[in-house]
Symmetry: C2
Subunit: 204 residues, 2 copies
């Protein structure tokens, strides 16, 4: 009989976090040692408590789960990271795995299932939700170059080309070229539909 798994829970929704903490605490081999409501807070709590497994929500104020995971990877290499997410976009999974995340699950799993997955991750194995994995595979890699993605992101809030050009320190003509090629690659009608598509696939 080994010591219980020490957990960090990070989610900006108190209701969820509290409920989750209560449920996971029912498992005798799991112990919630810290909670956080934002990215930076999660980092601080992780440093303070050095948990065995960090259960992070993907969307949090301050810094998202993947950013936190990236920081944790260098600061606390022994801490396994498990990401839970409401609406999982394919690209996020890819980014998360690249950041050294050990598990990636949607919030549609049951608490029992989550407890099992926490144990799996703690044991050093990986776990990725099969459905999300299938989505990620079928969505494939982003066909966009770094600049195309950057410009597309700047175009996300509907800014005119001139503003994008200024913010990206590019010539307006270049911006239009990148946007045009991105739109073509994504098979979209125009830049705005392209932004939507790229967002859906998690490429931005």
């Amino acid at each position: 009989m080994s010591a219980p798994v020490r957990l960090l829970l990070a989610d900006d929704e108190h209701l969820i976090r509290g409920a989750l903490a209560a449920l996971l605490s029912l498992e005798v081999d799991l112990m919630v040692v810290a909670e956080a409501a934002s990215g930076p807070e999660a980092l601080a709590m992780a440093r303070a408590h050095a948990p065995d497994v960090a259960v992070l929500d993907l969307q949090m104020p301050g810094a998202d789960g993947v950013k936190v995971a990236t920081s944790l990877r260098t600061e606390l290499p022994g801490c396994r990271v498990l990401i839970v997410t409401g609406h999982g976009r394919p690209g996020h999974l890819k980014r998360a795995l690249a950041a050294g995340v050990r598990g990636f699950v949607p919030k549609t799993v049951s608490a029992q299932r989550l407890a099992e997955i926490i144990r799996t991750v703690h044991a050093g194995n990986r776990y990725v939700d099969p459905e999300l994995a299938a989505d990620a595979i079928s969505a494939g890699d982003s066909p966009l170059t770094a600049r195309e993605a950057e410009v597309l992101e700047l175009a996300a809030d509907g800014a005119p080309v001139a503003e994008i050009a200024e913010r990206a320190a590019l010539s307006p003509g270049t911006v239009r070229n990148y946007l045009s090629s991105a739109v073509t690659k994504l098979g979209a009608e125009n830049r705005h539909a392209a932004v939507r598509l790229a967002r859906e696939r998690g490429w931005v």
Copy 2:
């Protein structure tokens, strides 16, 4: 001593729903009699179990919380509706209240607080989260006419004017006029920024 409050829980995230059900069941005067993972399912469960209070997530597949609330209002007038939401936009609150919803809270409240609010709502009172209420008041009413809002919504996915015109059964010129006036009223740079603004304020 009265009978316990019979609850319907609807949320598409099993993890949350299960955790919530467990926590609320700890309260002796609350009893979860039904759960649902989608809008239509929530309606079906409500018909089958006639709960005292329906706790609905705002964003669910099929039909959102407000739509479900609207149907419940006529089908089960005795059932009070409480909406919980992750990211509460001001306009949603307004729509919800218009649909006869008795309570509107963000997921950042604690489970104890939620239990209290459920009792408040069951007693026939209303409860609206103060912060969300303040947002709604400061955001004010939509300055858009019905057509402007309709056209703006059709423009949301980046469709060109011709497509919007076809889908709205309007002339392309008229569509451009409506878009132009909507953009002006919202003080936006262009239609896409206007869509973003209207979305943020919950006006679409």
